[in-house]
Amino acid sequence: MLDATQDGYTTADGRKIGGVVMEMKNITLRFGGVVAIKDISFDIREGEIRAIIGPNGAGKSSMLNVISGFYVPQEGEVLYKGKPRPQMKPYQVARQGIARTFQNIALFEGMTVLDNVMTGRLNKMKTNMFQQGLWKGAAEREEVENREVVEKVIDFLEIQNIRKTPVARLPYGLKKRVELARALAAEPSLLLLDEPMAGMNVEEKEDMSRFILDVNDEFGTTIALIEHDMGVVMDLSDRVVVMDYGKKIGDGTPDEVRSNQDVIDAYLGVAHD
């Protein structure tokens, strides 16, 4: 296992992984009497694909919500880019460069795909309301620049042909892709994906896996993802955190995790005697 003091490591396929971007220290999250996350620590390093896995109800989504600021843990510390992060609202976390997708797709259904992806750029716009209203000079240049980034993302995820389609009309798999596009448009330093493959058929899963790998490869985006499909996780990720009943039971490369007895027990069940 890696320790946080290390500068980084090189993956099996030869990619250089950098220093720690996000570090979770002894996080405990309770809902009333229910302990959703119990004293968990792990880190996410620059440029890696980090997976959080575990059986249903293990606390994976809760963990992602802690990272993105939707939940506030009762104990523990979140370090972002080496600095302790004060308690923040989700929108403030997003402005710090952490983008996310949701398990149950949260898109702006009434808007077109293009408009949806453009919202990912909202915080990059610096001109004021009146300049934008008049649509001249700086505001126009800014819009064009942001639009270029968005078009690049749209091209990259191969959704050019549905650019002008209202999101509500799209099938599930494409909606997931649009959500990924919106998150990418923000050029995040950390991208959180909450079950990006949930509810997809095999073909869609393969597409999504390819996109995740390509995003990481092309833009060097650091990705943390939650996934149920073990096969997918093991193929995609560089390092895996395994959770069960709110506790961390394993952390390491896919191979290390696969041979971990606790993990095998959690997934396959173990006889209680």
Binding site: S68, F70, K89, P90, Y91, Q92, A94, R95, A99, R100, T101, F102, A106, L107, F108, E109, G110, M111, D115, M118, T119, G120, L122, N123, M125, T127, M129, Q132, G133, W135, R182, A183, A186
Partner: protein, 328 residues
């Protein structure tokens, strides 16, 4: 041309002008409903409150004068100044922004994710509170509001129509101004919603809260912004109604006329609010003109509501509203 037809045309034009005023109030409802799903019963009272505040500031009235005098035994009523309309309007906009912030911070923020009926009840409470506050701050007497808009019959239209038809149309200057200002307001709102960052954020929040948060939009900021804009629209409506018939507490009742307008136009459509307002305005004036004498008049009181009822039966989403689709 026969006199009846000419008179009918004049009634039609006056109906359009009245419709603009209905549309202005309805617009405030639509804005808040679109952005936060709240049906703001207090919109009409906001128009009243804005108009009261504007008169109060322009005339240099001391707010809460009665209360202050009763408690401290003083005799203050006026600061003794008279401010120009523009300064008064700018200050009133400031008051409406503060009010928007208070409404969001003290009420709406704590009711996030509640049932629509609960939010609606909250705005009913807000309406009565603001009516009382307006009374307490500025007094209950009918006030004259003069922001310098021209009033009275438009001479040009009168002369031109007389030359052509031999019958001069009576069109009030104030109504013409109301139409122009409403048009500018609507265009500005459209530009805001389509081309500015805040407008985009507003549409995003209207659609999905979680998603909006995840792209870095502050919900509170947007809600305060929406209530501020609704406050501004209320001020414009308040000025127009106030200039026409004086600032009085029955002004808050015009909010009720906005309901049929919304049922016609749809609760989520800005153009719908405009068209709905015009249809109601023209409809009730023409109906009164054509049918009124046969049934003993006063049809203006109920025409709008009956029309709205018909719409509820045959087209519940209104003319421009989003289609109601239930998936099973």
């Amino acid at each position: 041309m026969p006199d009846q037809l000419l008179f009918g045309m004049e009634v039609f034009l006056n109906g359009l002008m009245a419709g603009v005023l209905y549309a202005l109030v309805a617009l405030g409802f639509v804005l808040i409903y679109k952005a936060s799903g709240i049906f703001n019963y207090a919109q009409g009272v906001m128009a009243l409150f804005a108009a009261l505040t504007l008169v109060g500031i322009m005339e240099g009235q001391v707010p809460f004068a009665h209360l202050i005098n009763a408690v401290f035994g003083t005799e203050v009523h006026h600061f003794g100044w008279h401010l120009p309309a523009l300064v008064g309007i700018i200050l009133t906009v400031g008051v409406m922004v503060v009010l928007a912030w208070l409404v969001n911070t003290l009420i709406m923020k704590h009711l996030v994710n509640q049932e629509p009926i609960i939010l609606f009840m909250a705005t009913i409470g807000l309406a009565y509170f603001m009516e009382g506050l307006g009374d307490l701050m500025w007094g209950a007497d009918i006030k004259k509001l003069d922001v310098g808009l021209p009033q009275g019959i438009n001479g040009v239209i009168d002369t031109v129509t007389y030359d052509i038809f031999g019958y001069g149309f009576f069109i009030d200057n104030l109504d013409i101004w109301a139409t122009v200002i409403a048009a500018i307001l609507v265009i500005a709102l459209m530009i805001f919603s389509q081309y500015t960052k805040q407008g985009r954020a507003l549409r995003a929040v209207a659609d999905d809260h979680q998603a909006a948060l995840s792209v870095g939009i502050s919900l509170n900021f947007i809600w305060v912004l929406v209530w501020s804009i609704a406050g501004f629209v209320a001020l414009v409506a308040g000025i127009m109604w106030g200039a026409k018939s004086g600032v009085q507490f029955s002004l808050s009742l015009i909010a009720l006329k906005a309901l049929p307008v919304l049922m016609l136009g749809g609760f989520t459509s800005i153009p719908g609010a405009i068209v709905g307002g015009l249809i109601i305005g023209v409809g009730e004036k023409l109906f009164e003109f054509a049918i009124g004498p046969m049934v003993g008049g006063a049809t203006e009181n109920w025409f709008a509501y009956v029309l709205a009822l018909l719409f509820l039966v045959f087209r519940p989403q209104g003319l421009f509203g989003e289609k109601i689709i239930e998936r099973v």
